[in-house]
């Protein structure tokens, strides 16, 4: 295989895996963000309940 072919094949396959990898990383961080939002709401609800009792 010539070096030119190797560069082009690496660019194609590398681009493919890079894009899918980035999409999965983005999904992971999106999941983290939603989990944090969920925790905030849970804490707010718990605080409101505590304040209501006191």
């Amino acid at each position: 295989m010539s070096s030119r072919d190797l560069i082009y094949l690496s660019a194609a396959f590398g681009g493919f895996f890079l894009c899918l990898g980035l999409e999965m990383i983005a999904l992971h961080f999106s999941h983290k963000r939603i989990a944090a939002l969920q925790l905030n709401i849970t804490l707010d609800a718990a605080l409101a309940t505590t304040e209501g009792k006191s």
């Binding site: 295989m1 010539s2 030119r4 072919d5 082009y8 094949l9 660019a11 194609a12 396959f13 681009g15 493919f16 894009c19 899918l20 999409e23 999965m24 983005a26 999904l27 999106s30 999941h31 939603i34 989990a35 939002l37 969920q38 709401i41 849970t42 707010d44 609800a45 409101a48």
Partner: protein
Amino acid sequence: MSVFKYSSPVTFYPLAGKLAPWFAVLAGLLGVVGLYLGLVAAPVDFQQGEIYRILFIHIPTAWMGMFIYVVMAVYGLLALVFNTRLSAMMMRALAPTGAIFTALALWTGALWGNLTWGTWWAWDARNTSTLILLFLYFGYMALMNAIEDPRRADKAGALLVLVGSINIPIIYFSVKWWNTLHQASTIGVASAPKMAPLMAAAVFAMVLACWMYAIAVALIRVRQIIAERELARLQNGGIIPVWLQSPKKGN
């Protein structure tokens, strides 16, 4: 038990969590098989040499770019006709993956074209209509982020996708309708593949791998969309429903 039960986001949420890992595993396995067949087992092309192996990514990504848009259009129709929230959420979940596949099809096509046609880009019908498809994906995602009310955004997005679906037959038949630089389809829907069986097997394995990947990612993303909307609704007070309390466990 009716399957329509799963058209509700609340009942679909745990199901998506259970199904996504299976589709991800299938995508990985099929990807390994496809890459082995395409990069190791398939022989060198007598005309193009090694560089033809780009097609093992170019064909699956181009197909998936179009196929995902068709699926989005069907969901869009369901969302508009039956006013189903889950259909609109599935559209939203599929769009980024469709855009990525379309961009990859253009990128790999440019690489292959530079070596075989002698140019990175040609404004021929197939290339141009695929570029329009990428812009349709971008337009849809921009529209979704521009409208604050999710239900209004869903309806506007569904309409945009339905109108844009006219581009899909144009992409598919462009090489037949016009005299294009892009070659005619090597693998057609109604005809036998015009390539060696081993090469065709590699293409099909990669297509299936991309398909399974798209389903897995869409299921994970739709869970996030459901959770996000439910949490946004509850942000002004209320209790988090039981089905949403442990998103990491897949139920």
